[in-house]
């Protein structure tokens, strides 16, 4: 892992320890690592927190990383081909699933964040620490793939 990627991984976890959520932390860390400065970041990512508004869907760290890859190699026009980019996103999703066994918030955390019981279990189990690992790994995978696949 290059030093720059290592720094971005640490930064994503630092942001996640601040009031930023999973998807926001990954997107912002990738944007900073790539020198992208936009007033729309991290607000574009807010709705993906907690598996889309805490509904247990796709992991926010993963969706934040998909947005981050978009900053690096997404399309600017409707004419650009997207085959190579899609392949990178597929590698990201497969790599994340290989590392953690699932890509959904509910499967990864075992907690329904929509309920009081689920949120209590999340805190009781220190699940936030595990989510910090998802945040760091998603950041690392995205930046590593972007570097290798360019």
């Amino acid at each position: 892992m290059s030093e720059q990627i290592e720094q971005a991984v640490a930064r994503s976890k630092e942001l996640f320890a601040s009031p930023l959520c999973c998807s926001e932390s990954v997107l912002k860390a990738i944007a900073e690592a790539r020198g992208v400065d936009s007033a729309l970041i991290p607000r574009l990512a807010t709705g993906f927190c907690g598996g889309i508004g805490r509904t247990g869907g796709p992991c926010g760290a993963l969706t934040g990383a998909i947005m981050g890859l978009g900053l690096i190699a997404g399309r600017d026009t409707g004419e650009e081909p997207r085959g190579a980019f899609d392949a990178t996103v597929q590698e990201l999703i497969a790599g994340f699933e290989a590392a953690f066994g699932a890509i959904n918030c509910l499967d990864l955390t075992g907690c329904s964040l929509l309920t009081d019981e689920g949120r209590a279990a999340f805190h009781a189990q220190n699940q936030h620490d595990r989510c910090a690992d998802y945040v760091g790994e998603a950041t690392r995978l995205a930046l590593t793939l972007a570097q290798n696949n360019k």
Partner: protein, 148 residues
């Protein structure tokens, strides 16, 4: 539907017809409605198109709308509240699922776009026309909820 939302609905389908993909089209139309232009649009949405890059995941029109809601009431600075955004996002997911029965690309299209067979089936049954409906409705629902 207000005239302006109807215009955004038509614009999203116009983007989709022009060659932008589902998530890109919805996000561009919502940004335009809000007068937002940025170098990160629509590139930030590309990986969500076709159910997260053909992986049978969340519908790209849905993901584009969630990013669009983020433009409107996402967290701009650390410490900002997410409550309004989460409320809108959940209401959006419910409304979209009520209308189409699902929020997942595979369920909505019936095609596994990760396979050549699924892609051929998508073209043969002209599923793209249905996706244009998902794009337009996602844009409209997100804007109606944001303006509510």
């Amino acid at each position: 539907m207000t005239d302006r939302i109807e215009q955004a609905w038509a614009r999203s389908q116009g983007f989709f017809a022009e060659g932008y993909y589902c998530a890109e089209s919805v996000l561009l139309a919502i940004a335009e409605y809000r007068g937002i232009t940025s170098a990160v649009l629509p590139q930030i949405a590309t990986g969500f198109c076709s159910g997260m890059a053909d992986t049978c995941g969340t519908c790209g029109a849905v993901s584009g709308a969630i990013m669009g809601l983020g433009l409107i009431n996402g967290v701009g600075a650390p410490g900002g509240s997410r409550a309004a955004n989460y409320t809108a996002v959940r209401a959006f997911l419910r409304a979209f699922a009520d209308q189409f029965g699902a929020t997942n690309c595979l369920t909505l299209t019936g095609c596994d776009l990760g396979t050549p067979e699924g892609q051929a089936d998508f073209r043969a049954r002209n599923v793209g026309a249905q996706c244009a409906e998902f794009v337009g409705t996602a844009t409209r629902l997100a804007l109606e909820l944001a303006e509510a």
